[in-house]
């Protein structure tokens, strides 16, 4: 996906390809999914062992200090291989928040453990009724003694049930919708008062709805400055969004390639269906959507390095819109051009389609990001 690769990136790419084609081959996936999120999840252990959990984390905390180009590589290959893991919540969402706003103590205890694969993180920001704007926080954190007491509800927390620590957004002042007054907290998964309702997601991952009833946390569990957590939260969500967009591009190319192979082979009425012009032109449209999506995924990831948050928001939202629409088109067409076989559980296409659809729903859909794009202006 990247316009050019360094030698190191070429090596990284090769090992990622080997992993997804061999260790995570589609035939093995069902078995591996049964252990997804378990303490001894073999995939997670392997991601740690191969250094991929550490790849983009800062060097001073056990990471390899990789760039967003490395993140792009990882995510694209995870997309192509339908690699299902808590990578995004742990490394991208959690990692970004701690990197940007964590105290020295938080960073030095948690980030190395993340890099080693011994700690998993999750981000609890979404709340009923499900509006993806991170400023829509009703969960409250009140000062009590030298700590805080947090109460509220969180929705669809990705891998919230398998995380060791939850990063929780809560309102320390203001009202739902206010940009100011949001603080981030690092909450241990076993904190009393935290109820976790876990469920599998359509893409075979995990999510959880959380209920926090007077969850008590210490003062040093505050991440970053009080009342000013939104900026960090937005930066993390933008990183997560750009990451899953890169993943989606990988998944789309994989569906594109599968479909192309299939129509070259499948015969109907005595000819391969790929010889029918209507099918050809639709295949070309899929190809074009993949190319355009890839272009925007690059722009979205590049914007994470921008020092201008408005430019970053615009680029990431434009990316999510483009990728979401392309994902719908490519996913639906891949199923349709295959026909019945792609409707079955044994065939990979439907699972890629489900993952693409979940990516559309994550961190705000096209409609939300179209609005965010338009309203992210300086003037």
């Amino acid at each position: 996906m990247l316009p050019s690769l360094t030698d190191e990136q070429r090596l990284l790419k090769e090992s990622l390809e080997r992993f997804r084609q061999q260790d995570y081959a589609f035939e093995k996936r069902k078995t591996l999914l049964a252990r997804l999120g378990a303490a001894d999840d073999p995939v997670w252990a392997q991601l740690a062992e191969l250094g991929w959990l550490a790849a983009t984390l800062p060097e001073e905390h056990g990471g390899l200090g990789g760039s967003h180009a490395d993140l792009a590589l990882l995510m694209e290959q995870f997309g192509r291989g339908l690699v299902t893991s808590p990578f995004v919540p742990t490394v991208v969402l959690g990692g970004t928040i701690l990197r940007l706003a964590g105290s020295a103590a938080q960073q030095s205890t948690i980030l190395p453990a993340v890099a080693e694969g011994t700690t998993r993180l999750a981000l609890a920001y979404l709340e009923p009724p499900g509006h993806p704007d991170p400023a829509c926080v009703a969960t409250r954190a009140r000062r009590e003694g030298d700590g805080f007491v947090i109460s509220g509800e969180k929705l669809a927390v990705l891998y919230g049930n398998v995380a060791d620590h939850l990063l929780v957004s809560a309102r320390t002042s203001g009202e739902v919708g206010d940009g100011h007054g949001i603080s981030m907290f690092l909450v241990p998964a076993d904190a009393p008062g935290l109820a976790v309702n876990a469920y599998r997601t359509h893409d075979s991952g995990w999510a959880a709805d959380l209920r926090l009833e007077r969850v008590q946390v210490s003062a040093d569990s505050l991440v970053g400055a009080m009342d000013s957590g939104l900026e960090t939260l937005e930066a993390a969500l933008d990183a997560g969004t750009a990451a899953i967009c890169a993943e989606a591009v990988g998944a789309m190319w994989h569906l594109h390639d599968m479909t192309l192979d299939y129509i070259k082979m499948r015969k109907q009425f005595g000819a391969t269906i790929g010889s029918f012009q209507a099918i050809q032109h639709r295949m070309v449209d899929m190809y074009m959507k993949c190319q355009l999506a890839q272009s925007m995924a690059l722009a979205g990831l590049a914007a994470l390095d921008s020092s201008d948050p408005i430019a970053r928001r615009r680029a990431v939202s434009a990316t999510k819109v483009q990728i979401g629409r392309a994902a719908r088109h490519v996913g639906e067409e891949a199923i349709q051009l295959h026909g019945g076989i792609a409707m079955t559980d044994d065939y990979a296409a439907g699972h890629y389609f489900k993952r693409l659809t979940m990516i559309r729903l994550m961190f705000g859909d096209e409609d939300y990001h179209l609005r965010r794009y338009r309203h992210s202006t300086a003037d």
Partner: protein, 398 residues
């Protein structure tokens, strides 16, 4: 001039009210919930239970003439009945027996076959499935290869049928089998009916990618089918299948079902107010809903124009293929929009049948299932590509 006015006579208004009240009073709530969740994989027991309720009222097999135990409804009555059943969340009729085989037996069956087959369908005691498609005969149905060899007064079946909907809950199958390979591929096909409990029949489930069990592969290993269970002449099954499939196309627009789905979506947006923090997105969502409503209305009128020709000829020509194409497109768009409205709630792969309020449960749990599941509708029953080919050839002369 509005073609839908024909359903507004006093008699039909009264009938509409009657159906509406009947469904409200008699449709079991547990069944209603599953239908309102857009499930197409209703258990056998649910389907039979509802069928028998309709049968007791005299409305089962609504398209059948009185002589075979049907209500002998006019087409207008059937249209109104179907609409109200859908709007009331009643299950779809059991299409393979009631909708397809029954009328085909009436047209092509011997008197003995009619006596033997029709009552079981009418009473809901015998469930049928269709054995047409095969692994390498999907859209190109005539290339089917599943073999039936004539051995005295039996056919011996070998091979397999693919995509057999409800094969796991059906008692009998009707299907097409290759009895001769020497001529054109449309020749040498024979229409047989067989008990799925016969020795040598194996039904292997095929799970769909969203997890439901609706279709199967059915294997035949030297299965013996008596000659008297053949419909029509040997080698002449293709014409019967074409007749049967023309029945299937009738109603595939699913206008009534989509009206019900759209009403559910509107109720969800109104009652759950997922956009209470995002007025602009409520606005754009309501625009999309209105657009789908308009598209559906155009299709509804088109269907009436096609099905109720003014000259009294109520047969449907090849132009009806467009009803299936547009019907599935609109239905798929409704489910896509519904899922997007659920947002983060749509991530969870869980479906709670006990929930009292379907709109609320959709929000939490089941909004993505129909989006995934209904991809099949543009593929099965003659893919939308095949339907376009039909229109190109038979309507446009291309």
């Amino acid at each position: 001039m509005d073609v839908r006015e024909r359903f507004q006579t006093a008699a039909l208004r009264a009938f509409r009210e009657e159906v509406r009240s009947f469904v409200r009073a008699n449709l079991p709530e547990d069944i209603r919930r599953k239908v309102a969740q857009e499930r197409m994989d209703l258990p056998r027991e649910d389907q039979q239970r509802w069928h028998k309720i309709l049968r007791a009222k005299g409305w089962a097999c609504a398209g059948w003439p009185k002589e075979h135990g049907g209500p002998g409804f006019s087409d207008d009555h059937r249209y109104v009945l179907e609409r109200e059943l859908a709007l009331g969340d009643a299950p779809r009729p059991m299409i393979y027996g009631e909708g397809m085989l029954g009328p085909t037996v009436m047209a092509y069956g011997t008197e003995a076959q009619k006596r033997q087959i029709l009552p079981g369908i009418l009473e809901g005691d015998v469930l049928w499935c269709q054995g047409f498609s095969e692994p390498n005969a999907g859209s190109d149905l005539a290339s089917l290869q599943c073999k039936a060899e004539r051995m005295g007064d039996h056919y011996v079946l070998n091979g397999s049928k693919m995509w057999t909907s409800e094969g796991h809950i059906a008692d009998w199958m009707f299907g097409l089998f290759r009895t001769d390979n020497s001529g054109r591929k449309q020749e040498g096909i024979t229409f047989l009916m067989l008990d799925l409990n016969l020795p040598g029949v194996t039904v292997r489930p095929i799970l769909l990618f969203e997890g439901t069990h609706e279709v199967n592969q059915v294997f035949f290993d030297n299965v013996c089918v008596p000659v008297e269970d053949r419909l029509g002449d040997e080698h002449k099954g293709w014409a019967i299948a074409k007749y049967l499939l023309s029945l299937e196309r009738f109603g595939t627009a699913e206008v009534s079902r989509s009206l019900a789905s759209l009403a559910r979506l509107k109720a969800f947006v109104r009652d759950q107010d997922p956009f209470r923090h995002a007025p602009e997105q409520r606005e754009s969502t309501e625009r999309r809903i209105a657009e789908l409503e308009m598209e559906l209305e155009a299709l509804e009128i088109t269907e009436v124009r096609f099905l109720f020709k003014q000259d009294g000829a109520n047969e449907v020509g090849p132009e009806a293929s467009m009803l299936k194409v547009r019907g599935t497109e609109i239905q798929q768009d409704i489910f896509e929009l519904t899922m997007m409205c659920a947002g983060g709630y749509g991530l969870g792969a869980r479906r709670d049948e006990s929930a009292a309020d379907v709109a609320a449960t959709r929000r939490g749990q089941d909004s993505a299932y129909p989006y995934f599941n209904f991809r099949k509708t543009a593929i099965y029953a003659g893919s939308n590509e095949i339907q376009r080919n039909i229109i190109a050839k038979a309507v446009l002369g291309l």
